[in-house]
């Protein structure tokens, strides 16, 4: 416990002192070789007498297709050693077939404990995941976040802060209740912690270990894992809370079309009318719910290893619907080893998280420095009437009508007709 807490503190300290960046773009060697058509040709196996070569093994590790038929052709009956001699074959009982079945996870294995996971003695699905994590995930994910930050800086320089037109009225209207704001901040705090610890887990080996040492990186990652596993529950709870509280206000309607036509007010000089949430906020809401929900499900699959496999069933449904064909792909694999299920869950978890992080960075920008008066909605919950009228005119009118109605009723109750 103490060790975990120390790791947690170190992680927090480091996270706020200087988050990792993603500039390194070194291509994974396997990726470059896979693209070389010369390497795809069958290798010369004369040196091994027709048996598999190092090149065959490397090709399999790179995730390239390997035709294993040659292994069944290996060996001439006439030149084989006699059954009774030291290197003799087993006659009808063929050991190579058994070893091959073990190698390619085709053998009928029985285990006394551990279930399906332990029945897999050997599988190489992890190589594709390993190379994906080292290459595209790190590179594209890193650039996506940096690109988003760069775009927002550029947008800020060009457009500046979106200010309230005219003077503030000084009168406020309640935009969000306490419980709504609390749920928002649980979601925000947990997401930022999960994002930072997730990035440390992915990039620590490349950007922390070489500069601060492996020992420190190890401690940092133990802390990151501790935070990531436990804070995830706060995220999931808050996700359910905001969904229940706000889904009704985020159903698409006709006002969204007008909002999109004016790009939220960027095109033209008028503010488009909006209800409690405008179309941009609805996009954020559904991104958080759908992507956050997907991250939560894949996260649960990772939290309880091998107990919640997701992808074989999902792929089967997608194959039945013909979805891979829509993008020119063949059928997706449905016979996945438990270890491959975990690798896919981790890859999907990371991909969707990168997309949601980019969206949330934009959300943080517009809710803080990007727009005058926006922060108050989630800070005190009270927004200036001028802001409310400009950005959420329909909602503002309804709130004022309701308020007036209640005031009139209260007045009537206090002074009954004589």
């Amino acid at each position: 416990m103490l060790r975990s807490l120390a790791a947690l503190l170190l992680t927090l300290l480091f996270a706020f002192a200087g988050p990792a960046t993603a500039q390194e773009a070194a291509e994974a060697p396997g990726v470059a070789e896979a693209a070389d058509p010369a390497r795809a040709a069958a290798p010369d196996r004369s040196a091994t007498g027709g048996a598999q070569t190092l090149e065959d093994i490397l090709r399999r590790q790179r995730g390239e297709p390997v035709d294993n038929e040659f292994r069944r052709d290996f060996g001439e009956d006439n030149t084989a050693a006699g059954i009774a001699s030291q290197l003799g074959t087993l006659g009808g009982a063929s050991d190579p077939e058994l070893w091959r079945a073990l190698r390619f996870d085709e053998a009928n294995i029985t285990v006394s404990a551990g279930g399906d996971v332990e029945k897999v003695l050997m599988q190489d699905g992890g190589m594709a995941w390993y190379e994906f994590r080292q290459g595209p995930l790190k590179i594209y994910g890193g650039y996506l976040l940096l690109g988003t930050v760069g775009f927002l800086i550029l947008f800020f320089l060009l457009r500046g802060r979106i200010r309230i037109d005219g003077e503030k009225t000084g009168r406020t209207v309640t935009r969000f209740q306490f419980v709504e704001r609390m749920a928002h901040w649980i979601l925000a705090a947990s997401f930022i912690l999960l994002g930072i610890t997730g990035l440390l887990s992915l990039f620590g080996r490349w950007f922390i270990a070489p500069y601060v040492g492996k020992e420190f990186n190890s401690t940092l990652l133990i802390g990151s894992k501790f935070i990531h596993n436990n804070v995830s529950w706060a995220f999931m709870l808050a996700l359910v809370m905001v969904f229940v509280m706000w889904v009704w206000h985020n159903l698409p309607d006709r006002t969204d079309l007008k909002w999109f036509a004016q790009a939220g007010g960027i095109i033209g000089s008028k503010h488009p009318p909006a209800k409690k949430f405008n179309a941009g906020q609805k996009l954020i809401f559904w991104s958080v719910i759908l992507l956050g929900g997907s991250i939560s499900v894949s996260g649960l699959s990772l939290l309880f290893p091998f107990e919640l496999p997701l992808f074989a069933k999902t792929f089967a449904v997608m194959n039945d619907l013909g979805m891979p064909g829509w993008v020119g792909l063949g059928s997706l694999p449905t016979d996945l080893a438990p270890q491959e299920e975990m690798a896919l869950a981790q890859a999907w978890h990371a991909i969707v998280s990168f997309v949601l992080m980019a969206i949330i960075i934009a959300h943080i920008y517009i809710g803080s420095v990007g727009m005058e008066g926006a922060y108050d909605a989630m800070g005190s919950g009270e927004v200036d009437e001028a802001w409310a009228h400009q950005h959420h005119s329909i909602w503002y009118e309804r709130v004022k009508d309701k308020q007036m109605h209640e005031d009139n009723r209260a007045l009537a109750e206090r002074s009954p007709a004589e």
Partner: protein, 41 residues
């Protein structure tokens, strides 16, 4: 600001609670896929 601070406090409480509940359940891979005869530490 009060809602924000409450939100942060709730996040911490849930996380610490989750730590104890999950460990009580023996959820970790180390607990699920290992035994006394396997050295992981």
């Amino acid at each position: 600001m009060k809602a924000m601070m409450t939100g942060f406090a709730v996040t911490i409480v849930i996380s610490v609670g989750a730590y104890f509940v999950l460990n009580e359940m023996g959820f970790s891979s180390q607990d699920v896929f290992s035994g006394d005869n396997v050295r992981l530490d």
